[in-house]
Each structure stands twice: as C-alpha cells, then as structure tokens.
Amino acid sequence: MITESDIEHIAELADIGISKDEVPEFTTQFNAILDYFEVLDTVEGESAPDAGAVNVFRDDEPRPSLSQEEVLASAGSTENGFIKAPRVM
C-alpha cells in the first residue's frame, strides 16, 4: 500500500510537481495500478545469462554536428553562448 506521503516522495524524486489536492486521487489510482502489477509476482524464471550482445560504437572522431547557433535557438535563456539553468543549491 502506497501512502500519500510516499506519493509526495516519489514526485520529489522524479522532480514532478503535484498539488496538494491531486495527492489523494494520485494515491488511489497508483494503488489500483500496483495491485494489478502484483501478477508479476507469479512470473517464473531467472534473469537470463549475458546473451553476448555487443554495443555498437563508432570511432571517437569528431563529425559535423549542429552549430552552436542552431542549438541555442531553442534554449529559453542564454548568455554569451552558454545555456542558463536554475541555480544549484
């Protein structure tokens, strides 16, 4: 059973804001969904051994990419060619 306080904690972990009056409904719906997920307790089998899949990498050689101008055009707040973000406490 997830409590309202758990919901508030999860929201904080995910940096998702939820308002006080949304919390009760979120909690009820969350619990209903987690009840449904309980069927996974009956899944049989173990984690598979490494299948030997290989990550596809390319050589670390610079290639043409988007220009600084193109990238900065989408950013909300920029300064001297940098993107501005909120302050880190």
């Binding site: 999860i10 719906q29 899944v43 993107i83 406490m89």
Partner: protein, 433 residues
C-alpha cells in the same frame, strides 16, 4: 518533377497540431504525395510538440531520419498530427491540444496514441501518415478508424529523431487506407541508419503479394477470451475464414505469457519514460524554466504546469518501479516476463507462419468514456505482446460492429514484415473484390 502542394484542410476532427499551408516536394517514389507526420517525430523547421505543452513552440533544428527519407522520396510533408501526450494513451484524449475525433463517428475516440495520423488518413485529408507504436499506438487507431497500420519489427526503422517515450518498445511505422500504400511507405522509411544503434541493416523493399496458399495461420486462444467483445471476435474469425478460403491453414497456438504481458508492458514503458522524460526541464528547449528559482523547485513547478496528469502519473510509476527496494519486484520481473513472452511467440512460430487475432478487444469507445487509468490500460492487452517480443504486427480493417470498424491483427516472426503485409494484402484484396 518538383513543386509545392497547397494544404488547407478542413480539420474538423482536430487531426493536426501544425499544418504547412505550402509543402514543397520533389521527384521520387512518393513524388507529390501528401504525408502527415506524428508530432513526436522531429521535423526541421516545423513545430514538434509530442502533444505536450512542455514542447509548445519547439522547432527542431534537424529532421528525423524517416523525415529525411520522406523528403528524398519526394513526399510533401503537410503537417504534424495530434497524439496522446508523449504517446501515453490509447485514445488521443491526453493531448494538450484537445482530443482528435474519430471520422467514422465524431463522438468517439480515434484510438491512440497516433489518433491524429489515423484520423487524417481516414478522413481523406492525406493518403499516408507516419505513426509510432509503443504498445499499440499505430494498430489501435488504425483499427478504430478503419484503416491499415503496421508496427515494424523492432530495429527495422530508424528511431533517430523520434522523441523517445519507451525506447526498447517503440517503432515508427506507416499508416494508410490500403495495405499497398502501407507497404509503399514502409519501403521508403525502412533503411539502415548507423545513428540508431538499436537497428539492424534489414531494409524493406517489397511489393505485396496476395499468394498465401499453404500459409499457416496461428489462432491464439488468449486473443479470443474474456475481455474481448464476442462480436469483435466473430468478425475476426470471419476474416480468418477468408484467409482459409485463399489456401491458408489454421492451427491453434498459445501464448501463456499473455497473463503477465500488460503488467510487464506498463512497468517497462513507465520505467523507460521516467528516464526519457527527465530531459524536459525547460532549459534547452520548450517554454523556459524560471532560472531565478532553485534547481528542484524550478523543475517541479515547470513539470507540474507543463506535463499533463497521465504523463506525471506514468513518470511516477516508472520512478517507483525502478527505485531501490522495488526494482527487483517490478522491473526485473517485468523483464523476465518479457523474455518468456518472446519465447512463447518463438514456440508458436514453429507451428504457424503468422498469428491472427483482433487488434483491440472492443470497437471505439466514446470520448470521455474511460476516465479510470487502469481500465484504459487494459485495452492495450492484445497489442502490447508484439512490442514486448519485437515482432512485426499489422492491423487491417475487417468489418464493423454497431457501424464501427474492427481490426484484424496479423503478427509475424522478427524481420518477416513482408509476410505479414502479404497476409493482410491477400485478405484486403479478397474482400474488396
């Protein structure tokens, strides 16, 4: 051959978020063909929102590979279609830009999340559209609107430029009124792209064939059981009968892992979404975050205002399913369930070449009818297995119930998209005759 298409549609169904009043085109396999693109696929110079306020006004500086391929084929990209926010939904009702209406009955949903693409095609506004399918989001709206839609084998169509929701599950795919056009569009977009490291080099270039003598069609009991409207089941059985009339044989198969499929799907997709949507912070794109606030406060406020309820719910479910103390119970179990389902299909495909069943358990519901999230999730039960297993799956119209379209779903082995298309084509050609 080159020119400009003028496009000012009567968009009474709200199929489009953005339309291009003039769309250039060039020579090629799709020369001059109007194609609509789902709004989670990056189009250079054309607003791309994923149906969300958090990307309102975002204009990508680059094209997705599939869009590059469309342009190279001479297509006219006429607009970006409406969708459930970030692909999270089965009805296009979670869009921040209003729901799309089903052209067959405007009081009903078109399905989702590619509801805008399906409606645009069904309403005759465009002959072809691109959709994306994570848990059924091409096939569901295709079924509900009475058109054809293919979810390709995972790894056959580049996801470069597709704004990710659940990257181990989703594929971009073609939607059109006919299977032949679905195949034509697939032939344009299914090309290897080294920028998508989850792709294999298996291009699709196929003209559908209606020759299906000897094709073994598997009928999974789980697709006709409880929860499936018996009238939908009947239409689909009739359609399978048509395939038999063309020389196919039917064989019973079973996918026992179905009982875990929906839970596994929702754990995996929400987990991936919780990570993929962390990037939406108002810093690099979308409506700007308030940089005067502190980090967490700024992000929480922005994401509360700009993400809809369903998106926030799924991010939270995913965060929870991956969190310390719970990941073993949810995420790990879901991955084992996923492997079991893939193995169930592999076993079934020893006895059958394609597997047939309904695409959706019901016909289109009314707008606003499903307000409870869990009951909405349950509608995905017949579509999610193909995403979990990474296999190709097509929906083709096969009759109606209460005047509303029913979809026949055909699934195939990995990389046998051609065979799945042929079976759908054979059925479609026979009933049109």
């Amino acid at each position: 051959m080159a020119g400009t298409l003028e496009f000012s549609p009567d968009d009474r169904y709200n199929a489009f978020i953005t339309t291009c009043s003039t769309a250039p085109f060039t020579d090629g396999a799709l020369a001059g063909t109007a194609v609509a693109v789902k709004d989670n696929i990056s189009t250079k110079g054309i607003q791309t929102t994923c149906g969300s306020k958090i990307l309102e006004g975002y204009v990508p500086p680059y094209d997705a590979y599939v869009v590059e391929l469309l342009r190279q084929a001479g297509a006219a990209i006429v607009g970006k279609t409406n969708m459930d926010e970030f692909g999270m939904g089965t009805t296009t009702e979670t869009s921040a830009f209003g729901p799309t209406k089903n052209p067959v009955d405007p009081e009903r949903v078109p399905g989702g999340s590619s509801g805008g693409s399906a409606a645009a095609v069904a309403a005759g506004l465009v002959p072809m559209a691109l959709g994306t399918d994570t848990g059924g989001s091409i096939r569901c709206p295709a079924a509900f609107c009475g058109i054809a839609g293919l979810k390709p084998t995972y790894g056959r169509v580049s996801r470069y430029g597709l704004i990710a929701y659940a990257n181990s599950l989703e594929q971009i795919g073609p939607m059109a009124r006919t299977v032949e056009d679905v195949s034509r569009l697939m032939s344009v977009i299914a090309r290897y792209d080294p920028r998508d490291s989850t792709m294999l080099d298996r291009p699709y270039d196929h003209r559908p064939s209606a020759e299906i003598k000897g094709l073994r069609v598997g009928i999974p009991e789980e697709y006709f059981g409880e929860g499936v409207d018996p009238r939908v089941g009947e239409r689909v059985r009739d359609a399978i009968g048509v395939l038999e009339g063309l020389g196919a044989e039917t064989v019973p198969v079973s996918i026992p892992g179905m009982r875990h499929a929906l839970a596994a799907y929702y754990v995996i997709c929400t987990s991936e979404a919780s990570s993929n949507l962390a990037r939406f912070d108002g810093v690099r794109y979308g409506p700007a975050v308030d940089t005067r606030k502190s980090w967490h406060e700024a992000y929480q406020d922005l994401r509360q205002e700009m993400f809809g309820t369903e998106v926030r719910r799924r991010i939270m479910l995913g965060t929870f399913a991956l969190s310390a103390g719970y990941a073993g119970r949810y995420y790990a179990k879901a991955q084992i369930a996923r492997r079991n389902i893939r193995e169930d299909f592999e076993r079934a495909f020893r006895d059958a070449d394609v597997i047939a069943g309904p695409t959706m358990p019901t016909v289109a519901f009314r707008l606003g009818e499903k307000s409870d999230p869990l009951s909405m999730y349950l509608s995905d039960i017949l579509t999610v297995p193909a995403n979990l297993a990474g296999i190709p799956a097509i929906s083709v119209p096969c009759g109606k119930v209460d005047g509303l379209p029913v979809g026949l779903q055909l699934m195939g082995r990995q990389f046998e998209d051609e065979r799945v298309v042929d079976a759908a084509y054979a059925y479609e050609q026979e009933v049109r005759a």
